[in-house]
Amino acid sequence: MLPELGQVLLALAFLVSLLQSVLPLAGAQRGNAAWMAVARPAAYAQLLLMSGAFALLTWAFVAQDFSVKYVADNSNTLLPVIYRYSAVWGAHEGSLLLWALVLALWSAAVALLSRTLPQVVVARVLGVLGLVAVGIIAFMVFTSNPFARLLPAPLEGRDLNPLLQDPGLIFHPPLLYVGYVGFSVPFAFAMAALLEGRIDARWLRWTRPWTNVAWAFLTLGIGLGSWWAYYELGWGGWWFWDPVENAIFMPWLVGAALIHSQAVTEKRGSFAGWTLLLAIATFSLSLLGTFLVRSGVLTSVHAFAADPSRGMFILVFLAAAVGASLLLYVRRAGHLEPGAGFQPASRETLLLLNNLLLASACAMVLLGTLYPLLADALGLGKISVGPPYFGLLFFVLMVPLVALVPFGPLVRWQRDQPSKVMALLLPWLGLAIALGVLAWFLAPQGKWKSALGVAGAAWVAGGTLYFAWKRLRNSGRLTAEMWGMTLAHLGVAVFVVGVLLEGAQSLDHEVALKAGQSVQLGQYEFVFQGVDQQQGPNYLADRGHVQVLRHGRELALLHPEKRAYASGGQVMTEAGILPGLTGDVYVAMGEPLGDGAWAVAVHIKRFVRWIWAGALLMALGGLVTAADRRFRRPPQEKPA
């Protein structure tokens, strides 16, 4: 009975979302307060219904109700309890349910925290969020029902994809969804502003923390996914430019641009139209990401089943949502207040450059991701666009971005003298170059990359810390917004170190080893002590024992594993890792080569932790910024 109740809840949620969109939007258009007042209760009801449906699906997994097809497809009796919870979002139907639940959470949060906004704005924002909910719930109800029955019920289910049976993967999808579904809030706000025909600095101030929080969660989600790929896939890589990674990276890039342009528009009134367009673009790219992941249009390691009817549904939804918002934008954006003017040497110009570079990077990723499809459509055959393309173009676009970071906070709004700012930063430039040269001489290999990484990071970190110090000295304190910016920019510096030094100085070697044999890599010696078998809850593992020594002293005993899962015979790698601040020692087992020998891959991943530490700092920066009290101050009477 319970799964049927779940279906009823979904159907009710669909009706409520219709109510939440149509009545408030019409009410706002006609000035009908009673209709507009429906928005808040509808958003709360939506959250209640979605939570109920989600709880019921979770219960079906915990209680192992294999009469529910989705449960039978994605779990079995051997599945450890913790993964029965995360299996709820382990495949298509359930992850849509999570998507809808997260949207309901954001909508309810907007309803709760929007007391300071005029009713008509709240009605429109919640109305637009309701429209998004209509689309996504309809997608679920009509093409991907998570509660569909499988009768007669099988005695045993299949299994959750073993790739997903990992603690990192429990949190990866929810964080991502909180992130990119969260971009629906600035999107809904942009729609409200366009419907209203003007953009008010107070509403924009209210929107900024939402964008920052969404972006911070997206950053965490991507970082976690990257870290997971690193230790789970056994290649020692942390980013693969896989289509699905790209799909999630595009909203991140444009979201980062949005965060910056929102700040300009809020403070100076400039770029209002651009900010609205970015808000639309960010959410559109989130929808595009959902489409690319869910439709099976592109081949990817994240492959999901290709079902054209599903792809068609979500494409229609995507085209309608994005098309309608762009149409509204075209009709209204030309009439927005232009805001204060500015000179070429000003913070506005720098932020515009930041936006252009991030947007170009996104366009480049979009082109690379869709190019195989385009080539296919034009009859050029099936093509794989790989890291050589992405790596090069990304590098070219990110170098100027990194070079500009320290200028941003130090240059004044409206106009400044370039020579003055240059004079402030000159010592830091000198320091960065000196450190870069030092790195060039010290680096055992990859000299240019190492020098560039160290110099770039020192430049960003030095300039950013100098700004914070100057502020502290002059006014005694930094606002949360400034702390957030400082943290995020320091995150960029740390990330730059990680990416370039990891790329320049990592070592790896793949060898065939028998028990007792050893291999030398850099300063490390790896002694392969053999393999034994271990029984896991639902897998059988070949567990290697690899002793790691440096200068003859034992550092660690690592245990890389090959796990064969009972359900489908799928084999998964678990790397053995000795983490360290300046580098990881990483051991992964390949195939057994017969005669007791195994293919063993040993890596020294220099500074690889800095990559995720940088992402963590950026996310923290976003969250700290969002906590600025200025965003929550009760509105003054006069629009800013």
Binding site: G197, L318, L326, G334, H335
Partner: protein
């Protein structure tokens, strides 16, 4: 949707028509492309157009071997018997997909399978072969992509069948599947073998 009493003064910097038209075109193109993708996603056998090289002599080249960089091999040395040329790179995801199929085909030893390692770092390529197995007779390394243009290579993976006199007889773009091997490569190979 529009309010006729809307009082905002018209600003001269209203969106330029050309920008709107370009945007609309881009959007329509994107949706069209997605639509094509969706329609094709259900189609397991995504066919491709034949190469312009078919029936023409294979382009001339001289390339070092991946495993012995000091040894260079040219088109002339491969002549005399048919060979299959497979363009791949360690950076190419779909090459990994086709690798088991290619390996199984190569193991029949019916024809030489020559690897054409394209735009790849030799260390990466060697590691890739070590990890996934090396089915190739020899592997040519075209690190800079010098001759790939002559072959009309647009991406990896691509596979060519060249007959004993050096004429390109068949080409496949994209990963080899069991179906492609059975229904297209083997019949093409049979024709080449009979012609000899």
């Amino acid at each position: 949707m529009t309010d006729p009493h809307h009082q905002a003064p018209r600003k001269p910097q209203g969106l330029p028509a050309i920008a709107v038209a370009m945007g609309a075109l881009f959007f329509a193109g994107l949706v069209g492309l997605m639509l094509y993708g969706v329609v094709r996603s259900g189609d397991a056998d995504r066919d491709v157009l034949p190469s312009a090289l078919i029936g023409k002599p294979a382009p001339d080249f001289v390339l070092p071997l991946l495993h012995y960089p000091s040894v260079e091999v040219g088109a002339a040395q491969l002549r005399g018997a048919p060979y299959v040329l497979n363009v791949w790179g360690s950076w190419c995801v779909e090459c990994r997909v086709e690798h088991p199929v290619l390996t199984a085909f190569a193991q029949t030893k019916r024809v030489r399978v020559v690897g054409y390692n394209w735009k790849d770092e030799p260390e990466d390529a060697l590691r890739w072969l070590e990890r996934y197995g090396n089915p190739f007779f020899v592997v040519l390394a075209d690190k800079e992509g010098r001759y790939a243009l002559d072959w009309g290579v647009a991406g990896a993976p691509e596979t060519f069948l060249v007959d004993g006199s050096g004429i390109v007889r068949w080409k496949h773009t994209g990963p080899l599947t069991e179906q492609v091997v059975q229904e297209r490569l083997l019949p093409a190979l049979e024709q080449v073998e009979q012609a000899r």
